[in-house]
Subunit: 118 residues, 2 copies
DNA sequence: CAATTATTTCTATATTTCTCGAATTATCGA
DNA sequence: TCGATAATTCGAGAAATATAGAAATAATTG
């Protein structure tokens, strides 16, 4: 169960054009992930600025990294992403399911049960 | 279709413990909404500080207000909420649906089609 | 119209966050 | 070990954000 503090950290991390772009890039990249250098290249960010952003996303639990030779590969944490969405939708339309049925369905579906979902 | 600029505004608005609490309170309140004073009471915020927060959430498109007598009633914008979730999940696991099936379902469901959904 | 209640705006200060240049650490190949 | 490549850390200045006191606006009641 995600707490408000964690949610604020995750939302803060994503509330920045550059970091949001990076995160969505990693979401698309899936488990394969992307080397920091490739991300910098794709987004046109200076390496040190990007590194600061990756650090913030990592501490927010939204991404994680592994070293491969000289490169550090970053990838999205789908479980954390799912947890954040679930938190945001919690108690949505409580008592009035007619208001936002599809969103409520989303909340129920918002657990990442698939095998490979890290 | 939500753009990155809008998403960053919405995420920034939510990336604050007090505002996130207010938003979730309004999500629970549904269409009935809540008067500013009641929100201040429920969250223990000074009226002026709360007003600044409500203003930020409003400009981000996440909530809207209507006047009723002396009170101003605030309520969540479920359509905007849904749009933000959809944006965050866009292209999730593209090419590898096995990674995060439930989340992908969420993305497809993330449009608020219900009648009363403002 | 005066008093009361509800909320917002104005203004200033304190704090946090962002970005970049420079220096540092880590890994690999010759 | 030396040089090259990949990424991170440090430090400082600039910019954005948060909070609160005081004043102002809006709507209702006597």
């Amino acid at each position: 169960m995600m707490e408000q503090t964690d949610a604020v950290a995750a939302l803060s991390a994503l509330a920045h054009a550059g970091r949001l772009e990076v995160f969505r890039l990693l979401v698309k990249a899936g488990h394969a992930g992307m080397a920091a250098g490739k991300i910098a290249e794709a987004t046109g960010t200076l390496p040190n600025t990007l590194s600061a952003g990756l650090n913030i996303l990592t501490h927010a639990g939204l991404i994680h990294s592994r070293r491969e030779g000289r490169s550090v590969i970053y990838s999205a944490d789908f479980k954390a992403m799912s947890g954040l969405l679930t938190f945001l939708m919690e108690d949505c339309c409580s008592g009035e399911p007619a208001i936002c049925g599809p969103v409520a369905d989303l909340a129920r579906a918002g657990t990442c049960a698939a095998e490979g979902c890290a």
